[in-house]
Subunit: 352 residues, 2 copies
């Protein structure tokens, strides 16, 4: 009896051994991909194994849009930009005649096709800047609490992929730090990263606005300036990882769309010792969205460098979790989404 109590009590201290008992990845179909993941984690966490990685070095970094949650027809943060523009125009009608706001309000895709990244950055800084961090976080929270994904018809945070949520929990149960490393803005992601992914705000890496600290009404605050400090994408993702973590990831996860995660995976691959790279291929139009990449650059990199390709169609038993009940919608109307919206490559590019 004493022994039993002792074992129970000890088991309570360390979830990993318990986790190992049952299938930690029920939303993943059995097959080579799932076996690669389970086998890798077993090898790097087994003391005495040649591939053993100490807990201090168990770093896993994941892209967000298209890797942890959906990114079609447009990345979720773009809908936040739209909602902000509609709100700002409601408060200041003069914006209705001012570009690039006018183009958003009239869903003028041609304008963005013509003015590309410049117009997008203008929108980003106008909707994300000129606020304190606290004010911005409140805006994001209100958006997430009241808006729905236009195609998947569920709260944006419910567009998270069930298999990836299981993977994140499985990695943490095995001593891994799980980090976000996305082209989305760091302060947008920090608002929901913990509740949605179990990822703490200090473990989020993303695109940044310039900020300054100043005293307003006797209180020192962080003020968001209407200017981009750095874009976290492609070759700059390893720099963001170095800035925030200071170690190479043992596991790096990204997806096929805009070559955005190749450098991060190469950075992981380049570490001394074992590493695993997961590249999600969106090939399931029925359960999610099917999309490829120009010239298959990421898939070719995976073939050449030995990244593990995850097929949504073959490897995922479920794509999304149970759909939460629809929440009340706010007065903010999201901009109408239609097929034309999908023809804005620059939008996707920059918003990643």
């Amino acid at each position: 009896m004493a022994k039993l109590l002792l074992l129970l009590a000890l088991a309570g201290c360390q979830s990993a051994p318990l986790q190992a008992q049952k299938d930690p990845l029920p939303s993943w179909n059995d097959g080579p991909t799932k076996q690669t993941i389970l086998g890798f984690v077993r090898r790097v966490t087994t003391e005495g194994s040649a591939d053993f990685v100490p807990i201090a070095d168990r770093i896993a970094t994941f892209d967000n849009d298209g890797t942890l949650w959906a990114e079609k027809p447009l990345p979720n943060e773009v809908y936040f930009v739209f909602a902000r523009v509609h709100e700002m125009a409601a408060r200041d009608p003069s914006l209705r005649e001012k570009q690039p706001f006018k183009a958003v309000l009239e869903n003028d895709v041609a304008y963005f096709q013509q003015h590309g990244a410049k117009a997008i950055v203008e929108l980003l800084v106008a909707t994300h800047g000129n606020l304190t961090q606290e004010q911005f976080a409140a805006e994001v929270r209100r958006f997430l609490d009241t808006q729905h994904h236009p195609k998947l018809n569920r709260p944006f945070t419910a567009t998270a992929y069930a298999p990836m949520l299981e993977l994140l929990a499985y990695l943490r149960a095995n001593g891994f730090q799980t980090w976000l490393c996305s082209g989305g803005t760091i302060d947008f992601m920090r608002v929901f990263s913990y509740q949605t992914y179990g990822i703490r705000p200090d473990q989020v890496i993303g695109t940044e606005l310039k900020r300054e600290s100043k005293v307003i009404d006797g209180r020192r605050v962080i003020w968001r300036l209407p200017a981009v400090e750095s874009i976290n994408d492609k070759e700059t993702k390893p720099v963001g990882i170095d800035l925030h973590i200071g170690k190479r990831p043992v596991i790096a996860g990204g997806n096929v769309l805009s070559e955005g995660d190749i450098a991060m995976m190469e950075y992981s691959k380049g570490r001394q010792g074992p590493s695993l790279q997961l590249l999600i291929d969106h090939d399931d139009a029925e359960r999610e969205f099917a999309y490829q990449e120009k010239d298959n650059v990421s898939l070719n990199a995976a073939r050449q460098q030995g990244f593990t390709v995850v097929s949504v169609k073959r490897d995922w038993r479920n794509v999304f979790g149970a759909q939460p009940g629809a929440k009340q919608t706010s007065s903010v109307e999201p901009a109408p989404m239609d097929r034309r919206s999908m023809a804005v490559p620059q939008f996707l590019q920059v918003a990643r």
Copy 2:
């Protein structure tokens, strides 16, 4: 018996309750300062207390130079800069005739008094740049393994303050994340922060060089460019905290010297809920170094804003830990330190 085993096993899961039994801060003299610290931690960690702070929000940030380890006659990282200059000149004698290297090699303080910050930044980027992160870390490690502090005659990492090491351990035992937030460079501190302070590399915030990721010999690396990306000091410390942590510190610790930590303390003070700011006053010439600040700006801020002032003389029973045996010295000769070196305010300013 079963009960006892169970209790023992459970106790093993959570060190905080055990810690609380004995004095967690033996190197602190009993008195108002120590009582303020112990009382604050008790209040914010007691469930049901009006001041209870959830573990997720238990953030403590500490300056490094003069707060966690000595900074006189010059900040420790400056001796690394000197050592690098001597090494570089040994490899490339032409540097002996080139400023600001010449001034370092000849200990020409007047030059730095004349050229100030510009010369310092030139030295910083020349000694810290044009390396991969791995190469730079190896240089720092070699410096720390072979060089000694010129006045305290011990390895630089042994200039850490015993009372602060106890405070860091005490805070972690009570669920706090302990962060470094210093004007020193992030990658210099990351090399020793874990072994010296128990602070992980991803919880270090500091001054940064520009970096890029590129492929060298088929391997993606982080390349350090010879240019400053950002200085982490004064008003920019809250920005660094926001970038890396995304939350306001519940506890912020700094010291009197150059007004470098006032903004960080104001940022902590400005949080919703309880907070504690510790300002170390170096007033003990016998056991360490005694130095004040022009116009007492930091001490005045402490009085006006209610920061807790820590007197080295009154509040610390011990300043340093037991002195480790001297390590073998390398071929690198540190630049001779003398009284004149202490007359380089710009040096201290920028190197903080």
